[in-house]
């Protein structure tokens, strides 16, 4: 006998995420959690603010730097290695690291952020772009993907107040 389905509105689960980071590594947790939750019939809303806002740009060129990233130890030569800060600050280090990580994702069959984002839009997740951040960093709505709506802190608050799960990423 399977558990009660969440098609019953009274039992429907909901989750709100506030996405504040925009590096390649930090783009993954919100999109993985959001798309998986949506696949499990959870009503999901994502509020993209500050450095999370560029995740909504049509053209993504996500980067991750090993500089000061003490926990970043990548599989290398059979073990795990961190890049010394002295090397991480050299020109090209960030771009090179980002390419390596994207290649590692491809090799291991991990979805790209573009694919996860497309899945998020397809599963009708409520994606909200922070109006203040758009203004602050001078972003244009026409540079963003189709789907997200504009909103402010109160918009996020209402979603958060009505959600079973609230995550700050």
């Amino acid at each position: 006998m399977s558990a009660a389905a969440t098609t019953d509105l009274a039992n429907a689960k909901s989750m709100s995420l506030i996405v504040t980071k925009g590096t390649l590594d930090w783009a993954y947790p919100p999109f993985i959690l959001a798309t998986t939750a949506a696949a499990m019939d959870v009503k999901v809303s994502m509020f993209f603010t500050f450095y999370g806002l560029p995740l909504l740009l049509k053209k993504l060129d996500l980067q991750v730097s090993p500089l000061g990233n003490a926990a970043m130890k990548m599989p290398m030569a059979g073990g795990h290695m961190a890049m010394p800060n002295m090397l991480a600050m050299l020109p090209g280090a960030t771009a090179g690291t980002s390419v390596m990580m994207k290649n590692l994702m491809k090799k291991k069959g991990v979805a790209s952020i573009e694919d996860l984002r497309e899945a998020a839009v397809e599963s009708e997740i409520d994606m909200i772009a922070c109006q203040m951040t758009m203004d602050l960093f001078e972003y244009d709505l026409k540079d963003m993907i189709e789907g997200p709506r504009l909103g402010g802190a109160a918009t996020f608050m209402e979603n958060a107040l009505n959600s079973d799960i609230n995550l700050f990423i």
Binding site: A5, T6, T36, A39, V42, V110, A111
Partner: protein, 74 residues
Amino acid sequence: MADEILDTKGLNCPLPILKAKKALKKMASGSLLEVHATDPGATADFEAFCRQTGCDLIESGEEGGVYRFVIKNA
């Protein structure tokens, strides 16, 4: 026996779940979806997925590194 087979071998979390959900959305209630995966986390994931969505995990096994699940659509 399954109405549809979904191959997610070589794909990592959350793709097996996302692709299974996409397939199940197009299938009739009660129909069977068979999923093949190599992601070791898939076993626990599909159990949780079925519990939450009201689907039935009829079969769940592993052979030679390939996990096989049969899901009955809610």
